[in-house]
C-alpha cells in the first residue's frame, strides 16, 4: 500500500492511478473520493497536483480513422507487392509467395480464434453466475459497432445496447419471469407486466416491474452500476461473500435518479446518485430556477422536489442564507456547486441522499 498520506503535490503528479483519476479514466474513482474525505489536509496538495496534470494537457492531432486505414492498407499493399517483385527478380525465393500467403492466413486464424476464445470465456463466466441453466434457445446480440444498438424484446421492452456489449435473452418470454443476461452496458425501458423483469450481470441482479434504467457491467470495470431514470428498481448481490452490515446490504431499492454501485473487490453494494440527475417534475420549476433573496432552505426544497432526491440539511444553520442567482440548464451537481460557493457550504452524497452542510451565513 502506498503511503499517500505522506505524498506531496509532485508525488501525486507522478502517480499513475492519480493521473488517470484526474483525466476521468481511472478505475479508482471511489478510492480517491474516499481518500479526499479521509484526508482533508491533503486537499491543497491534491488540487495543485490536479491543476498541474491539467496544465500538462496536449491537444491531439487531427487525424481521421479513414486516414489511418488508408495508410495501413497502403502499407499492406506495398509489402505484398514487394514479395511479388522478389519472385520476379530472383527465382531463388520462389517459395516466398505462397509462404507469405500462408503466413497471412495463419495470422487471420490466430486473430479469429483469439476472439472466439474470449467469447467462450465470457460465456463460461455467465454460465457459472446465472441462476438458471442457459438453454440453447437463448438469442444473443453482440454490439460490435461504435454506436448504440436498439433492440426490442418479445414483451415490447426496448434495450439500447452500448458498444462492445452483449445481451442474451429468450426470443419469447415464457414462465414466471422475464430474464436477460448482460455483459457491458445497456439502457432498458421495460414495459410494465405481471412478470418481473430481471437483468443478470453475474454478481448482481436488477429486478424491476416497469421502468427506465441503465445497467453497466463491463468485465474490465471491476464494478457494476445500475442507474435509474424512472420508476422503482431493486438491486441485489448474488455474491455470498457480500457482508451484510449497517452500511452495506445485499440489496437496495432505487428510485429515479438513484444508482447502485457494486465494487467487485470489496464485494460491497452501495447506494448513490446517478451521474446526471434529471428533472423529474418540471412543473415544480415555475420560477425557472431564478432566485431573488430566496432563503437557501427554500431553494433546496425546490431542488428536492424537482429531482426527487432527498436533501438533508439543518434548517437552523441555513436560516440566514439568502440566494440571489439564476440557475439554468447546468447539471444538479453544478447547481449545488454554485450554491456551495455562494454560501460557503459543502455537500456530500450519502446513501442516495444529499447532505448539505452550511456553517451559516451572515
Amino acid at each position: 500500500m502506498k503511503k499517500y498520506e505522506e505524498y506531496t503535490a509532485l508525488d501525486f503528479v507522478k502517480d499513475d492511478s492519480f493521473r488517470d483519476w484526474v483525466r476521468g479514466k481511472g478505475r479508482d474513482e471511489s478510492f480517491w473520493m474516499h481518500f479526499l474525505q479521509q484526508h482533508p489536509e491533503k486537499k491543497a496538495d491534491i488540487r495543485q497536483a490536479e491543476l498541474l496534470i491539467r496544465a500538462m494537457n496536449v491537444a491531439p492531432e487531427s487525424l481521421s480513422e479513414k486516414e489511418v486505414r488508408q495508410e495501413v492498407s497502403q502499407f499492406l499493399e506495398k509489402i505484398t507487392k514487394s514479395s511479388d517483385q522478389n519472385v520476379a527478380v530472383s527465382t531463388r525465393f520462389w517459395w516466398q509467395r505462397p509462404w507469405y500467403r500462408l503466413a497471412a492466413m495463419i495470422a487471420l486464424v490466430i486473430v479469429a480464434s483469439g476472439t472466439w476464445w474470449i467469447m467462450n470465456k465470457n460465456q463460461k463466466t455467465e454460465l457459472n453466475s446465472s441462476f438458471l441453466p442457459l438453454s440453447n434457445s437463448l438469442a444473443e446480440t453482440v454490439n460490435e459497432t461504435e454506436g448504440s444498438l436498439m433492440l426490442t424484446l418479445d414483451d415490447g421492452s426496448t434495450v439500447k445496447l452500448s458498444p462492445h456489449s452483449r445481451l442474451k435473452y429468450a426470443p419469447k418470454f415464457t414462465g414466471e419471469i422475464r430474464e436477460v443476461f448482460l455483459t457491458g452496458e445497456a439502457l432498458f425501458e421495460v414495459v410494465k407486466k405481471k412478470e418481473p423483469f430481471l437483468v443478470q450481470t453475474g454478481k448482481l441482479t436488477t429486478k424491476v416491474l416497469g421502468t427506465i434504467f441503465t445497467v453497466r457491467a463491463y468485465e474490465s470495470d471491476n464494478r457494476v452500476t445500475v442507474q435509474v431514470r424512472s420508476g422503482k428498481v431493486s438491486v441485489y448481490s448474488n455474491d455470498k461473500k457480500t457482508p451484510t452490515t449497517m452500511t452495506t446490504t445485499k440489496g437496495v431499492i432505487l428510485t429515479a435518479n438513484q444508482a447502485a454501485v457494486f465494487e467487485e473487490k470489496e464485494k460491497q453494494l452501495s447506494k448513490t446518485l446517478v451521474v446526471e440527475p434529471i428533472v423529474l417534475r418540471p412543473e415544480v420549476i415555475i420560477n425557472h430556477f431564478s432566485y431573488d433573496e430566496t432563503p437557501l432552505s427554500q431553494v433546496l426544497k425546490q431542488l428536492e422536489q424537482a429531482y426527487g432526491i432527498h436533501f438533508q440539511f439543518d434548517n437552523e444553520s441555513l436560516k440566514n442564507c439568502k440566494i440571489t442567482a439564476t440557475l439554468s440548464n447546468e447539471s444538479l451537481y453544478d447547481k449545488l456547486h454554485l450554491l456551495c460557493k455562494i454560501t460557503g457550504a459543502t455537500y456530500e452524497i450519502v446513501d442516495g441522499q444529499i447532505i448539505f452542510d452550511a456553517q451559516g451565513c451572515i
Binding site: 491543476l51 494537457n57 491531439p60 495501413v72 502499407f75 499492406l76 514487394s82 495470422a107 487471420l108 486473430v111
Partner: protein
C-alpha cells in the same frame, strides 16, 4: 482518445510479425498509428513527411522480420525508431546533421484542460503554468510530453530519448524544480490573495 492496446496484445502481434505474418505488422501499425503520428508531428510539422516516415519505418521493419529480435517495449521501440527516421529525413532536407542527443526541434504546445474549472484564480494558475511549461528547454518538454501525453514509464522514456537513467533523472529534476519554483510563486500568490480578501 482511444485506449492504448494492451501490452500482451502488442507482444503477441510482435511475435506473429517475427514469424512472418504481414497482417500482424499491419495491425501493429494500425494500433500505434495515432500515437506515432502525434509524436512525429512534434518533431516535424509536415504531415506528409511524418506519414511517409511511418510508412518507411514499417516497410523496413518488414524487411528485417526474419532477423529482428525480441523487443521488450514495442511502443517505446517504435517511437524511438520513428524519431531516428524522422531526424535522418530532416538532416537530408536541411543539409544539417541532427542527432538524437543534438538540439533538434521539438514542438509541443500545452493546452490546459479547463473543463469544469470555474475558479478564476485556478484559471489564472493554469494559464501561468502553461507559460512556464512552454518556456522550458526542448528536451525537458520532450520528457514531459512522453510522460504525460504518451504515458511512457521512465524506463521507456530513457529508451525513446536514448539517454541513460541518470541523465533522464537529472533532466526530470531540472524540469520539476523549475515547475516547483513557479508553482511556489503561485502558492504565495494564493496565500496573498486569500489574505487580502
Amino acid at each position: 482518445m482511444k485506449p492504448r492496446p494492451k501490452d500482451e496484445l502488442t507482444q503477441q502481434l510482435w511475435q506473429d510479425y517475427r514469424a512472418g505474418a504481414p497482417s500482424a505488422l499491419a495491425q501493429l501499425m494500425q494500433l500505434h498509428y495515432t500515437d506515432l503520428f502525434h509524436w512525429g508531428m512534434r518533431l516535424c510539422p509536415e504531415r506528409e513527411i511524418v506519414k511517409d516516415c511511418i510508412q518507411e519505418l514499417f516497410l523496413s521493419l518488414w524487411q528485417i522480420h526474419a532477423t529482428i529480435g525480441e523487443v521488450e517495449n514495442v511502443r517505446a521501440y517504435l517511437l524511438k525508431s520513428l524519431k531516428t527516421k524522422l531526424l535522418r529525413e530532416l538532416s537530408k532536407q536541411h543539409n544539417h546533421l541532427y542527432e538524437l542527443n543534438d538540439e533538434y526541434d521539438f514542438d509541443v504546445l500545452f493546452s490546459p484542460d479547463m473543463r469544469m474549472i470555474e475558479d478564476e484564480y485556478e484559471v489564472y494558475q493554469l494559464k501561468r503554468l502553461e507559460q512556464v511549461l512552454d518556456q522550458l528547454p526542448q528536451r525537458q518538454k520532450e520528457l514531459i510530453y512522453l510522460r504525460f501525453y504518451q504515458d511512457l514509464s521512465y524506463d521507456q522514456i530513457a529508451e525513446t530519448m536514448q539517454i541513460g537513467r541518470q541523465s533522464l533523472y537529472n533532466l526530470l529534476q531540472k524540469a520539476l524544480s523549475s515547475l516547483r519554483k513557479h508553482w511556489q510563486v503561485g502558492l504565495n500568490l494564493l496565500l496573498l490573495a486569500m489574505w487580502v480578501r
